[in-house]
């Protein structure tokens, strides 16, 4: 996966767990929590999907790295570099 594909992957996961949200307008630098009201349980969902789809393990102490889309890309790209992108949400 390229960093651009990591963005697609993460937005797809957000779309799956929060089907009422429009992910196309998400700002990449602003905290996700502030844009779409994700709480700590929702981050658990994101981490769960990363594990299910890509086998990527994110330990609890690293959840804070996932606060923004840009944060997700820098943290996840090394973990996902050799993985294929799956898109699951119905867009």
């Amino acid at each position: 996966m390229t960093p651009e594909e990591v963005v697609v992957a993460i937005k797809d996961i957000i779309e799956t767990i929060a089907p009422d949200e429009d992910v196309s307008n998400l700002d990449h630098t602003e905290r996700l929590r502030d844009q779409i009201d994700l709480d700590s349980m929702d981050f658990l969902d994101i981490v769960m999907e990363l594990r299910k789809l890509y086998g990527a393990q994110v330990p609890e102490e690293d959840y804070k790295e996932l606060a923004t889309i840009d944060g997700c890309v820098s943290y996840l790209h090394p973990l996902l570099a050799d993985k294929e992108l799956h898109v699951t949400a119905k867009v």
Partner: protein, 475 residues
């Protein structure tokens, strides 16, 4: 057989939500329901060709999609459901009626504020401060000292009539305590009814449940109907499984029970019930409900409100009556007075009043059938006296009593709101056995779903998700 990660007892709103939530985390779940239908207190039935909902008057907690921080948004999010799947139609207005005063309210809180200003000019400042205090109250799941809701209301309002008018919906829509409600619970109810609002899913509870069931069927959850739990099995203070009425034994690391606290303790055996159940744990409040089918739209009879919460006497009494029913207060629900895409198949008016479970159960069958009709007449006559009389327009009627509620939901005493003592953490004296739904503390459809999700998260999802992450194990 390999033990389940979790067994959920009861396919009511809380059990369905808990099972669905756990399935999203790939937990192996068995959802056990003793009846042939799901929904529990919010199930449905057909009688002589009429399709009725058991419990649904109004869905509380209505907010538009994407409203931040609202329980409905959280429930939808955590179950990955879309707001528009439920096609929620808002009420145009509802009413609070106490002797001499009618206050209208809608999902725009400004209406109630202006109605209070009109009818109780010297109370409106206090009312605004009350609303502010409710908005600012931080809810948490921990047990803490909880003052009386009635006493707290009296610190903002001095007119007992206004206090009564507000208490009718707050108590009827969620208090297991006689004549009062804990302040924290009052805050939840005030938000859910007045600050958020009332709505009705298009088509009633059936399509609403269908969304959940369809979703559940797409997961690995074992949904087993007609599978009543006879005993909860435990050893050394720790639950490890259940025995069904058929004798079959199922094992699980964790059990979430929506059957109620007292009922769950009883399933743990006579010793557990003796050791852990106090008289104050037993609920006392139940209801009689009548559903009238009308030959015309209630609006044609002058009945325009979606819901009317009334007390024809002051002070308003919310307690177990000494007689079969107390007709001096209640709730009238008109399903057709909620916005809907299609007109309803039938025009209905429902009336709920307080009832005494033990007296209903002491009647022989003949007396039971007779009293049921007579008292439904009396309840409707009193309700009709304050709105409009629909008796002549009635073509069919069904009535259910505390006896019916107990038979179909297994709640002791026909207690819709369960035990007066809520256990917010869900924990019970038996390790590995947790409460969800009614006796954990969240009530109503949205509340029960919220409870199922919260207990699933707390006692199963986070309890185990830490382990693989921190050990770095892959699965």
């Amino acid at each position: 057989m390999k033990p389940y990660d979790a067994i959920v007892i009861g396919a009511g709103m809380s059990g369905l939500a808990a099972a669905l939530r756990l399935a999203l985390f790939d937990k192996r779940v068995c959802l056990l329901e003793k009846h042939e239908l799901w929904g529990g207190l919010n199930s449905f039935y057909t009688l002589d060709g009429h399709a009725f909902d058991v419990g649904l008057h109004a869905l509380t907690n209505y907010v538009p999609a994407r409203t931040k921080g609202a329980p409905l948004t959280k429930v939808l999010r955590q179950l990955r459901l879309r707001h528009d799947e439920f096609r929620l139609g808002e009420h145009h207005h509802s009413e609070l009626r106490v002797p001499g005063v009618t206050l209208s309210f809608s999902n725009d809180f400004g209406l109630l504020e202006s109605e209070v200003a009109r009818a109780f000019p010297d109370q409106v400042d206090g009312f605004r401060r009350l609303a502010q205090a409710v908005r600012e109250y931080e809810l948490d799941e921990e047990e803490r000292d909880d003052p009386s809701g009635r006493a707290m209301l009296a610190t903002y309002l001095s007119d007992p009539l206004l206090i009564d008018a507000l208490l009718v919906p707050l108590l009827y829509y969620g208090s297991a305590r006689e004549n009062d409600v804990d302040w924290s619970q009052l805050v939840v109810l005030f938000k859910s009814i007045f600050l958020e609002g009332l709505c009705r899913p298009e088509g009633g509870i059936r399509p609403f449940l269908n969304v959940l069931i369809k979703r559940l069927r797409g997961t690995s959850v074992d949904l087993r109907m007609r599978s009543g739990v006879r005993r909860i099995l435990h050893d050394g203070g720790r639950a490890f499984g259940v025995e069904l009425e058929s004798g079959e034994v199922l094992e699980a690391a964790c059990i979430l029970s929506s059957a109620g606290y007292v009922e769950s303790m009883r399933m743990c055996g006579a010793d557990a019930e003796r050791a852990h159940v106090a008289t104050t744990d037993r609920g006392r409040l139940s209801f009689v409900e009548s559903i009238s089918v009308l030959d015309r739209d209630p609006i044609a009879l002058g009945h325009t409100a979606a819901t009317v919460f009334y007390s024809t006497r002051t002070p308003f009494r919310y307690e177990r009556p000494n007689t079969l029913v107390d007709t001096t207060s209640g709730v009238i629900s008109a399903p057709s007075n909620f916005a809907s895409e299609k007109p309803l198949k039938e025009n209905l008016l429902r009336v709920t009043v307080l009832a005494n479970h033990d007296r209903w159960c002491a009647l022989d069958d003949e007396a039971y059938a007779r009293e049921k009709e007579q008292l439904a007449d009396a309840a409707i006559a009193e309700a009709a006296s304050i709105t409009s009389d629909w008796r002549a327009a009635t073509t069919y009627r069904d009535v259910f009593t505390p006896r019916t509620i107990r038979r179909f939901t297994g709640h002791d005493g026909g207690c819709v709101y369960g035990s007066p003592t809520k256990r917010k953490s869900g924990a019970t004296p038996i390790d590995g056995l947790f409460l969800t739904g009614t006796d954990q503390g969240y009530l109503g459809v949205v509340g029960a779903m919220m409870s199922g999700i919260a207990m699933a998260n707390r006692h199963v999802v986070t309890a185990s998700s830490r382990t693989p992450a921190s050990t770095g194990a892959t699965t």
